[in-house]
């Protein structure tokens, strides 16, 4: 259940960025390939936000779709999982371009 430490990380980043102001909402980006489950982050958020500037804040989660680049043929394509082959040439040497994000994007403060 590493979502608990991930969520604590979110709260820490927000507290240092909000400089004491109450946080109304926080937008985070979770890539589709990151091993973090949005539902679990939401579940942990309320507990982690308690008694902080984030108490009562709205959590907005944006999923970032995964895209890959084939080292063999340079094709770019959407990726659903790490083990997928390049749809153009069938090679498994695929570099992940996006989809591994785990980022606090922005805050709305009072």
């Amino acid at each position: 259940m590493h979502e608990m430490s991930i969520t604590q990380g979110i709260v820490e980043i927000c507290e240092s960025s909000s400089e004491g102001r109450r946080v109304l909402s926080v937008t985070i980006e979770i890539g589709e390939l990151s091993s973090v489950i949005p539902d679990a982050v939401e579940f942990c958020f309320e507990a982690c936000a308690r008694d902080t500037a984030l108490e009562g804040a709205r959590l907005i989660i944006e999923r970032v779709p995964a895209r890959g680049h084939c080292r063999a043929c340079s094709a770019e394509f959407p990726v659903r999982a790490y083990y997928e082959a390049c749809p153009a040439c069938g090679d498994f040497g695929v570099d992940i371009l996006t989809g591994e994000e785990l980022r606090v994007k922005e805050l709305e403060v009072e």
Partner: protein, 268 residues
């Protein structure tokens, strides 16, 4: 107050490390003083509640990554080769370590950080080999992080070490996301597990650079297709280096030892 990263005592109760036992070993690592204490002053002000948007764009794992980078610099400065051993519970990580430490005794100087939710059973096994060991109990935590490793490493005389082995909590999911400052992640998979584990837990096999396929002495007795398993691992991670080993019979261990010794030599 911990001297290595500036954290206060209230930050430390969740993982046990004895701060006083070895703080006199003479090395300073000022570059590991990474995170500034973040003050959490919360005060209500203004009554006009005009919302303001602040762009943050900060990686949620940034703090761990910063501490991990500090660890890596420190290990490099000390010329210590560091491996992070990850696997599901029961794959044989501790047995591989015991055998490796015994067989390479006198050739390389090892220290071990043992991560488990509870007990110091593994640390006791490692200590019996004569290598210095530090047990870290994560309690409810499912992985080691860079902060825990930073403190655990304070228990060793790093100048005398060639290799630091970090045995992570047995878990094929969470430890994949947390950089500890190691040189390589080594994933252990045993033939008593499913051959499709690389596909089921792709993040871990994607992030590891080395895979030890363990318990190969049991291959005649189990329905495990080793070639298929390795093909799956290479599908996730074409560059992964794979060693077939049996920590029980010693089969294949020499190749692993050669790789280890070459890595340690490069660091000196």
């Amino acid at each position: 107050m911990c001297t290595t990263c500036g954290c206060g005592p209230e930050d430390q109760h969740h993982h046990n490390h004895d701060h006083d036992e070895k703080h006199d070993h003479g090395h300073t690592h000022a570059h590991r003083h990474e995170h500034k204490p973040e003050h959490q002053h919360k005060h209500e002000h203004h009554d006009g509640t005009v919302a303001k948007t602040i762009s943050v764009e900060t990686d949620i794992l940034a703090k761990n990554n910063r501490l991990a980078e500090g660890n890596r610099e420190f290990f490099t400065e000390k010329g210590v080769f560091v491996l992070n051993l990850v696997s599901s519970p029961g794959s044989g990580k501790t047995t591989i370590l015991e055998k490796t430490l015994r067989d390479l005794q006198g050739k390389l100087n090892f220290a071990v950080i043992e991560g488990d939710q509870q007990t110091d059973n593994d640390a006791v096994r490692i200590a019996a080999t004569g290598a210095p060991v530090k047990q870290v109990n994560t309690g409810a935590g499912c992985h080691l992080d860079a902060h825990m490793v930073c403190h655990a490493a304070d228990n060793f005389d790093m100048d005398s070490l060639d290799v630091l082995m970090i045995e992570n909590v047995g878990n094929l999911v969470c430890p994949a996301s947390f950089d500890l400052g190691e040189n390589y992640k080594v994933v252990v998979l045993s033939v008593t597990e499913g051959e499709d584990k690389p596909l089921k837990y792709p993040n871990m096999f994607h992030n590891a650079q080395v895979m030890l396929l363990n318990k190969i002495d049991l291959l005649p007795y189990v329905d495990f297709d080793a070639d298929k398993c390795k093909a799956f691992a290479r599908r996730i991670n074409p560059g992964i280096t794979i060693f077939d080993v049996s920590s029980k019979t010693g089969e294949g261990m020499d190749e692993w030892y050669n790789w280890l010794a070459a890595g340690a030599r490069k660091k000196v």
